[in-house]
């Protein structure tokens, strides 16, 4: 047998990488799922994307620059992956067509359901979920994940002043929305 066929060192590294992903999943998988949901607003899609994100991390782990924080690195991969999905052919052509059907009012809708839907509209979180993506992602990262502007800037590659402007604008949009609906 060739010596290379049983690489003790490589095996150790492989086991390590598996362990790192395991730890990352235990620590962050729910949060990454919430992040993905914030982008795509669909539970099943968010779960699929989260699964893909951790596999991607495993593949990219060798490229992880030790100088960066692993959390920021993970969030950045996650954010990019979700945005790539939203730009993908599948999402734009297939999912959007399904969405259009959702907007066609259905007469069979229960009165009760409508009342619930209406009261949900007033909730803050639903208002946030209705914001355009560039505001939604930053509001989520800042107020839900409680990340600093520097961290958000590293994750989204948006510069800090732009992030500040977007937060301010998001608040204005939200205020108008809440007033409109009362």
């Amino acid at each position: 047998m060739h010596e290379l066929e049983q690489w003790p060192v490589a095996d150790e590294i492989i086991a390590d990488r598996e362990q790192i992903i395991d730890q990352l999943m235990n620590e962050y998988s729910d949060r990454i799922l919430h992040l993905a949901f914030t982008y795509v607003r669909n539970r099943a899609t968010a779960e699929d994307l989260t699964q893909e994100i951790f596999i991607k991390c495993y593949e990219k782990l060798a490229q992880f620059n030790q100088q960066a924080s692993i959390k920021t690195w993970l969030y950045r991969i996650a954010s990019n992956h979700c945005k790539d999905y939203l730009k993908s052919w599948h999402y734009r052509k297939v999912t959007l067509n399904e969405k259009i059907l959702d907007y066609i009012p259905s007469k069979s809708k229960h009165v009760e359901e409508e009342i619930i839907a209406k009261s949900e509209k007033h909730s803050l979180s639903n208002a946030v979920m209705g914001l355009p993506i560039k505001y939604r992602e930053i509001v989520f990262l800042h107020y839900y994940e409680e990340l600093t502007l520097v961290e958000i800037s590293k994750i989204t590659t948006v510069n800090i002043n732009t992030i500040k402007t977007r937060l301010k604008r998001a608040k204005e949009l939200l205020k108008n929305k809440m007033i409109e609906e009362v």
Binding site: H2, E3, L4, E5, W7, V9, A10, I13, I14, R17, E18, I21, D22, M25, S29, D30, I32, L33, H34, F37, R43, A46, E47, T50, Q51, F54, I55, K56, Y58, E59, K60, A62, Q63, N65, E120, S123, L124, S125, N126, V128, M129, V139, H142, Y143, Y144, E146, K171, L174, K175, M178
Partner: protein, 144 residues
């Protein structure tokens, strides 16, 4: 003035993210996918042409993963097409074996041939196609 987002976190937890958890089934699916990819960690599981194409692409200058992946496709080496992640896995194994080295430049990792890698590439070119010595065989002797 009150920040409209000040109780957003608890509000989101109770509404849009309610019961939204990454299940054990999902975690296991990730683990399984990882194990599948691990079989690709061994150099001898790659085709010899693929290994040579990667080494050749790095012989003149250091390249980062993305440039390398484009170059390989141009060379009609399609093993990594739509599976770019595997290229990084291979580069990582090669790095571990001292066949390539890497440096970070502006947050990008550049790979270049190490002395060992150059040796193998030369060897693979010198050997005539008739009595072609397996490069893989040479690579596998890397540890001795």
């Amino acid at each position: 003035m009150k920040d409209p987002f000040h109780n957003l976190k608890s509000s989101m937890k109770k509404t849009v993210f309610k019961n939204l958890l990454f299940s054990d089934e999902r975690k296991n699916a990730v683990k399984e996918a990882i194990r599948e990819r691990q079989s690709k960690q061994q150099l001898h599981s790659w085709k010899e042409e693929t290994l040579v194409a990667v080494l050749e692409s790095l012989q003149h200058e250091a390249k980062h993963g993305y440039d390398l992946s484009i170059l390989l496709i141009q060379k009609n080496e399609l093993s990594f097409q739509n599976k770019e992640g595997l290229l990084y896995t291979l580069l990582h194994s090669m790095e571990m074996k001292g066949i390539v080295t890497s440096t970070w430049i502006y947050e990008k990792k550049y790979y270049s041939l190490a002395a060992k890698g150059k040796k193998y590439l030369t060897a693979s070119k010198e050997v005539s196609s008739k009595q072609r010595f397996s490069l893989k065989h040479l690579l596998e002797e890397a540890s001795t």
